[in-house]
């Protein structure tokens, strides 16, 4: 490896790296830097005024709160789904396995109107929930449903491979030493799965916070009640308040970067955990 650093056999290093850096800068880095530069046109007081306005703060509360709840729901049910797919055989398994990725492939606007049709007052599911006094569409609960839909594959697809690679000998050893099935899960399996599960949770959360298309149809977008933060950016833009939109975007970007760091750390942990146990 050190030899190739001094003398590269393969051609094209400068060309491909140069093109990669140029394209990355042009499409991603420079435009993102524009957000931070634009926000600098606001004074600190103005910036704070925009990002701490009550209507904006209400959107953080909704976006972050519901995204956390959705990610938690996905962590629980995603783990069960991954478990079912790896450990049990049942008819239609390949179909279920393939369809797990639907939220990645289905355009968010389509998901949005489909969920709204299901959960509206007269919808397939809504008509049964309405008499119970449960309103989903056009309420924060609707946002939750959309974010659960969007985040599910993140958990399943991070947990599933780790579960598949899990060495059964560990379980057999534990069982032969007299451990109950639940104890084995709790003390042998879960510790190995935990980093992957947390990674899936963080990925689902990160995606949920920024999600727009699937949410706006079902949310109803009532100020102070069911507005999400990305919608606030759009609202400001439609009022030609570019600086205001940018200030909120900066808040979201900083959060995204922090989440990205966290996720990278978690993934390194996953690799270490599973590598050690293999």
């Amino acid at each position: 490896m050190s030899a190739s650093r001094t003398f590269r056999v393969l051609p094209g290093f400068h060309l491909t790296l140069g093109y990669t850096l140029a394209y990355l800068s042009l499409i991603v880095l420079l435009p993102l830097a524009a957000v931070f530069l634009k926000s600098a046109s606001l004074s600190a007081a103005e910036f704070w005024h925009v990002i701490s306005a009550p209507r904006v703060v209400a959107t953080y509360r909704l976006s972050f709160g519901v995204s956390l709840a959705a990610a938690a729901i996905n962590a629980v049910f995603g783990l069960m789904l991954a478990w079912s797919l790896v450990r049990y055989s049942f008819p239609g398994k390949r179909f279920v396995d393939a369809l797990i990725d639907l939220p990645f492939a289905l355009p968010t606007a389509v998901a949005g109107i489909a969920l709204t049709a299901l959960y509206a007052k007269n919808g397939w599911i809504g008509q049964y929930l309405e008499p119970q006094g449960i309103q989903v569409a056009f309420k924060p609960l609707g946002v939750l449903v959309a974010l659960v839909f969007i985040g599910l594959p993140f958990v399943v697809r991070t947990v599933q491979p780790v579960l598949e690679d899990l060495d059964t000998e560990l379980e057999e050893a534990a069982a032969s030493l007299g451990a109950q099935r639940w104890q084995i899960f709790r003390h042998v399996i879960l510790p190995v799965l935990l980093p992957a599960l947390l990674t899936g949770f963080a990925l689902a959360f990160a995606r949920a916070v920024g999600e727009y298309g699937s949410v706006i149809f079902i949310a109803g977008n009532i100020p102070m009640v069911s507005e999400i933060t990305p919608l606030m950016i759009i609202t400001k833009l439609e009022q030609y308040d570019y600086a205001g939109a940018t200030a909120i975007a900066v808040v979201m970007l900083v959060l995204s970067f922090l989440l990205l760091l966290l996720i990278n750390g978690l993934q390194a942990w996953t690799a270490k955990r599973t590598g050690r146990d293999r």
Binding site: A34, F77, A105, A117, G210, Y212, A245
Partner: protein, 306 residues
């Protein structure tokens, strides 16, 4: 080659790996636990994933085939289809070339800052699509930095097709690269180095040695990239200006119809996108099967041996 793959398809009846767990006392649950877990997870799957998909098609056909068909061949819908295909036809090849270049540089060479570069390539995935649209409005919009200059030269980017393409390129940026980087890293560079030593030039090496090794991963990345390119809503919505018959992509057309209470038409157009998603998933499953065919049959062998 083809004989070997046929053999894989037939010789591996895809002996469900789960049997390996269920056949042993130590790795299975008592029946009631198993059926509870299975029941809960499959119900969750049906309610949250299957039902919305079914709803799209049922709602689309609610008013009959005639309404369905007329919504699809409406002039605005046809324009939206054309624009969506155009945006994908530009952004997918751009990101494909980028993905291959980035993967070549990262997987075949050692340099400082590699991890940072990989993280930066993933960046567009963690940025809200709305912000992806906003950044281009800040640069090319009427009030943006280049806005006055663009207006002077009568070039429209925002509220026009170039803006839509740019936003699409941004949101689909990492797809091909992130599929190829781990794949090419895992394959190492011995084969390419051997080809070079034997006298092949760089292009021949890539074409005859690297490409056959990465073709499934490449296809996989392209499919996912294409699905996102055709389905992107948030980012495109910000830069498009929603001008009917001019800057409306398919997802935006769905939104407009829906907001005008033309539900059947909205779902009809949406069903096209849902079909695209299903085709994407089918091809993806097939590619995964092809790519992992070897390793799976190996697993089966190990299983049989143990």
């Amino acid at each position: 080659m083809s004989a070997a793959t046929t053999l894989n398809w037939t010789a591996a009846p895809r002996g469900d790996a789960a049997v390996r767990y269920e056949s042993r006392e130590a790795t299975r649950e008592v029946p009631w636990v198993k059926w509870t877990i299975l029941g809960i997870s499959l119900t969750f799957f049906a309610v949250f994933l299957l039902l919305p998909l079914v709803a799209v098609f049922v709602e689309a056909l609610r008013k009959g085939w005639e309404t369905y068909w007329s919504a699809l061949i409406h002039e605005d819908a046809l324009w939206a289809i054309k624009l969506t295909l155009t945006a994908a036809a530009i952004s997918v090849p751009l990101n494909l070339v980028f993905g291959v270049c980035a993967a070549w540089a990262i997987a075949k060479f050692e340099f400082r800052g590699k991890h940072l570069l990989i993280t930066l390539i993933d960046l567009p995935f963690s940025v809200s699509p709305v912000i992806a649209g906003l950044i281009y409005v800040l640069i090319f919009g009427a009030q943006g930095w280049l806005g006055p200059w663009l207006a002077e030269h009568d070039i429209r980017i925002i509220f026009a097709v170039p803006g839509i393409v740019l936003a699409t390129v941004f949101v689909t940026f990492p797809f091909v690269a992130r599929e190829l980087i781990p794949l090419m890293q895992a394959q190492g560079r011995e084969e390419e180095e051997a080809a070079i030593v034997l006298g092949a030039n760089g292009w021949q090496t890539f074409w005859y040695v690297t490409l056959p090794n990465i073709k499934w991963g490449l296809l996989y990345g392209v499919i996912l990239c294409n699905a996102r390119a055709m389905g992107e809503f948030g980012a495109v919505s910000v830069v498009s200006g929603h001008i009917r018959g001019q800057t409306n992509t398919l997802p935006l057309h769905v939104e407009i119809l829906y907001n005008e209470y033309q539900f059947a038409a909205a779902f009809a157009v949406a069903s096209l996108l849902a079909l695209l998603a299903l085709v994407t998933l089918a091809v993806k499953t097939w590619v995964e099967h092809r790519a992992s065919g070897g390793s799976q049959s190996r697993e089966a062998h190990q299983d049989a041996a143990s």
